[in-house]
C-alpha cells in the first residue's frame, strides 16, 4: 500500500482527501465521524462575523439531477454559511483539532469586505489551533447579495485586497477559494497570487437552477412558490473544474501556486486526475453527501493501488504530471490520425454507435442485415462519439493509423511528423505571421 501522506502548504494529512467546506463539516459531531471514517482533513463550514448568525430557509435547500437508476449526478444548494454562533464553532474547532492533531483542519471564513471585520475574526480563528484558513469568495447565492462570497470572487481587486488583509492578520496558510461564475478563472487566481495567497482552491459551486416544478411553475427547490439560483456541484461539474484547475496550473503568472481541487470528486480516479493537473490535494463534498463518509475508503484504496501499480511512492510523484500536456487547440498535431475500431466480440449489437454516427456525425459506421456494425475507415474522422455512446466500455476503441500507412478518408499517407494549425496552409495566419 502506497503511503498517501500528503503535505499541502506544509500541512500534513494522512491522505489528500479533505472534506470541502459544506454541510458535512458544519459541526464537531460530523467532523469527528469524518475523521473516524478516514478523511485526511476538513475545511470547516464557513464562519461568519460575530453576532446573530445567518438564517437559512426552512424549506428544501437542495435540488438534483440524476442519471440512470437515479444516480445523483448534480446537486445544487441554496444553503448559506454556518447558521450557528461563531463561538460555538470556534470551541468545537479547537477541540477537534486537539483530538486529531494528524488531520488537517482548515477554517473557511466569510466576513464583509472591511478590514476591521477580518482583523476581528482572524485572531479568534488563529487561537483554535487550526492549520489554515480558506477565504470563501465563492458562494453564489444569498451571501453574494450581501456583498460577500462570489460578489468578492468576481472582482479581482477585492480578492487581492482581502487576501492581503488576511496575510497581515493571520500567520498560517491562507487559501483563496475561487468562484467559477466568471469568464476567465485566471484573473481571480492571479489576484489571489498577487495578494500573496498560499494557495487557491476551486471550484466553488456554479450558479444553477436544477429544474422547474411544472405544476407550480417555479424553480426547484421551491420555497413557498418561489425559487432562486443555487450553487451546483457533484460529478456533473467535474469537467468544468478540471479545466479551471488546469488553466491556473499552466498559466505563466500562477504556475506553481498550490491548488486544492474541488468539483465532483467521487472516486480515487477523479482525485488522481485533479492531482495530475496540478492539484496538491482534493476536497470532496457531494460524494460524501450522497453516500456518506465511507466513500473515502474507496478513494484511499483506489489511489494507493494505482500508485503501487505505477510505482509512485508519494503523491508528490504524480502531482502536476499532466500539466505539460495541456495545450491550446492550435498546437494539437493535425497529423495524428486514428480510426474507430469495434470489437465484434464485445459488441452487443445495440446499434447506438450507428444511430449516433449515421444521424448526427459522419456516416462512418456500416450496419449489416444481421446487425454487425463496422467502421468505414474511408469516412471515419475519429470523432470518438461512437466510443462515448457505446454502453460497453472498451468495445469501441480509437486505433492510431501508424506513420507510412494511408488514411483511407483522405487518401494521404500519414506522415508521422508533427504539424499543427499554426503551420497549416489553410490557416490564413500561417503565412500572414511570417
Amino acid at each position: 500500500m502506497a503511503d498517501l501522506t500528503t503535505e499541502f502548504l506544509g500541512i500534513k494529512s494522512p491522505n489528500p482527501f479533505w472534506l470541502a467546506s459544506a454541510p458535512p463539516t458544519d459541526k464537531e459531531y460530523n467532523v469527528r465521524r469524518a475523521f473516524e471514517a478516514g478523511w485526511g482533513g476538513v475545511v470547516w463550514k464557513t464562519l461568519g462575523a460575530e453576532g446573530p448568525p445567518v438564517v437559512n430557509v426552512n424549506g428544501p435547500r437542495y435540488g438534483a439531477i440524476w442519471g440512470a437508476d437515479r444516480r445523483l449526478l448534480g446537486l445544487n444548494n441554496i444553503e448559506l454559511i454556518t447558521d450557528r454562533p461563531l463561538q460555538t464553532n470556534l470551541e468545537e474547532i479547537t477541540r477537534v483539532k486537539k483530538d486529531y492533531p494528524d488531520r488537517a483542519v482548515i477554517v473557511s471564513i466569510m466576513v464583509p469586505c472591511e478590514e476591521q471585520a477580518w482583523k476581528d475574526i482572524l485572531p479568534q480563528v488563529e487561537a483554535t489551533g487550526a492549520d489554515g484558513i480558506e477565504l470563501n469568495f465563492g458562494c453564489p447565492h444569498g451571501m453574494a447579495e450581501r456583498g460577500m462570497g462570489s460578489a468578492v470572487g468576481q472582482v479581482p481587486e477585492y480578492i487581492q485586497m482581502v487576501t492581503e488583509w488576511c496575510k497581515k492578520y493571520y500567520s498560517k496558510p491562507v487559501i483563496v477559494k475561487l468562484t467559477p461564475n466568471i469568464t476567465d478563472i485566471r484573473n481571480p487566481a492571479r489576484a489571489a497570487n498577487a495578494g500573496n495567497a498560499d494557495a487557491v482552491s476551486l471550484i466553488n459551486t456554479i450558479n444553477s437552477i436544477t429544474s422547474v416544478d411544472l405544476d407550480n411553475m417555479a424553480p426547484e427547490p421551491t420555497i413557498g412558490g418561489k425559487g432562486t439560483h443555487g450553487g451546483y456541484c457533484g460529478p456533473a461539474v467535474k469537467p468544468i473544474a478540471l479545466n479551471m484547475v488546469a488553466e491556473i496550473a499552466r498559466d505563466p503568472q500562477t504556475r506553481g501556486l498550490p491548488i486544492s481541487a474541488i468539483g465532483g470528486v467521487t472516486t480515487w480516479r477523479d482525485a488522481a486526475e485533479f492531482m495530475a493537473l496540478g492539484a496538491g490535494n482534493v476536497q470532496v463534498c457531494t460524494a460524501a453527501m450522497t453516500y456518506g463518509f465511507n466513500v473515502v475508503k474507496e478513494m484511499i484504496s483506489g489511489l494507493s493501488n494505482w500508485m503501487d501499480e505505477k510505482g509512485y511512492t508519494s503523491t508528490q510523484d504524480f502531482i502536476g504530471m499532466a500539466v505539460p500536456n495541456v495545450t491550446d487547440w492550435q498546437y494539437l498535431d493535425l497529423n495524428y490520425v486514428t480510426k474507430a475500431k469495434i470489437s465484434q466480440d464485445d459488441c452487443i449489437k445495440c446499434g447506438r454507435c450507428y444511430a449516433a454516427c449515421e444521424d448526427t456525425s459522419h456516416q462512418a459506421i456500416a450496419m449489416s442485415e444481421d446487425r454487425v456494425f463496422t467502421v468505414k475507415d474511408d469516412e471515419c474522422v475519429a470523432c470518438n462519439l461512437c466510443v462515448n455512446v457505446c454502453p460497453v466500455e472498451g468495445c469501441i476503441t480509437m486505433e492510431e493509423v501508424p506513420a507510412g500507412q494511408v488514411d483511407e478518408r483522405t487518401g494521404e499517407v500519414v506522415s508521422g511528423e508533427y504539424a499543427n494549425w499554426t503551420t497549416h496552409p489553410n490557416n490564413p495566419s500561417a503565412t500572414a505571421a511570417e
Binding site: A68, D69, R70, I348, K349, C350, R352, Y354, A355
Partner: protein
Amino acid sequence: MATSHQASGIQAARLDAAGIAENFSDLHPAYDAHEAAVAADRCYFCYDAPCMTACPTTIDIPQFIREIQAGHPESAARTILEQNILGGMCARVCPTETLCEEACVRETAEGKPVEIGRLQRYATDTLMEKGVHPFTRAAATGKKVAVVGAGPAGLAAAHRLAMLGHDVVVYDAKSKAGGLNEFGIAAYKSTNDFAAREVDWLLQIGGITMDYGKKLGAELSLDALKDSYDAVFLSIGLAGVNALRAPGEDKDGVRDAVDFIAELRQAEDLTALPVGRNVVVIGGGMTAVDAAVQSKLLGAENVTIAYRRSREDMGASRFEQDLAASKGVKLMFNVMPKAVHGNGAAAEIELEYTAVADGKFSGTGETVRLAADQVFKAIGQTLEGQPDALELEGRKIKVSETGRTSVAGVWAGGDCASGGEDLTVTAVAEGRDAAMDIHSSLMG
C-alpha cells in the same frame, strides 16, 4: 378440512383456500412505480431494436420504455396498444424469453434482459386502471364486418375495424369473450379476471356488438355471413384435440388438458376443483405445462409431464420448463404413452421410451409404469368445424400474408389460420393486419 396430497383418486380441496390463493397469485407481480423506473432505466434505446423486431406485433419497445423513463406511462401504453390492442394480456402471457427479451441486447451483454414484459404490463395497467380508452372511432363507413370467434385474433380485428369506422359483430360459440385468454392460459398469468376486464376495456371503442352462443356450422354459416356482411373474419381457433391413440384412453380420469384448464379458469372456487393424487400430462407444449403446474398448485402429490421427444424439441420454452420444475413437476423426456391401465378408472400409465435412430423416431420397446389417477392429454389441438369452401394448408385455413382465405370476402387469423406460431401475440398481429386489409379492400 382439506383433503391431503396423498388421498388417492381425483379429489377436491387438497389445499385450503389460503394455500390456493397463494399458489395462484400473480406469476410476475406488477411493478410498482419505483420498480418500473429502475427497470426502464436499463433500456439502451437501441437502433432498429432487436426486441421490436422479435415482437410479432412490432411494438416500438424502446419508445414505450423511454416514455416510462420520462414519467408518462400513459403514452407508453398508447405506443403499445397502437400495435397490440391486447398489450395488457400479452404482457402477462407472452413467452418473452423467446421473443423480445431473448433479443434484448442486455441478454447478450449480461444474461439479464430488460424486463420488457413487466414494463409493458406496468404501462398498460396504469392506463387501464384509469379507465382510459385512448382510441376513438373514425367517421362511420357504413360497412359491416362479421368476426367469428372472440379470441385474441377476433378481438384485435374487431377493435381495429371499429376504430376505422366499420360496424362489427363478433360471434362466439361460448357465452363469454376472450378465447384462450379466458378459457386457456394458466390462471396465475391472468389474475383478477384480467381477460374479461380487458375485453370490457377494449369494447369501449364502440361499434362492436358481441353475439354469444353462435357457432360456425351450427347457428352460423359462412354463406349467410357473406350475404349479410361486407366482409367476414374467421378466428375460430383450434376446437379439436388430438387423441392419444393408446389403449385405455377412454378410462375415467383421462381427459383433455384444455378442458381441465378451461374448467379451472372458470371455477368460482378452486378448492372445489378436483385433481388427481398422481397426475401425468402427455405433451410438451405450453398447454402441457399449464395443466401440469396448475395440477400441482391445486395440491396433486405427483405431477409428471411425459414428452415423446427431447428437451430441446419441447414446445414449451426453457423458462416454462424451469417454472414447472420449480413447482415440483417432474419432466420426463423421450417417453410416449403405450397404455392407460386401471379397472374402469385410470390407475397407471405405461410409457414407452423413444429414440431417434437414423433420423427415424420410434419406441425402444422398454417401458415404465407410473401411478396415474389422472391423465391429461395435451398433444395438440386441431382445426375443427371450418367451412368446407375454404382451402387448407396443412391442417389450417390457408391464408395470405394479410389473412385472405381462398374465398373472396373472407379473411382468417389466429390459431385456425396458416402461418405464425400459436401465440396470443401472433393472433393479435394477424387479426390487426387482416383488419387493415379488410379496410383497404372495403374502402378500395
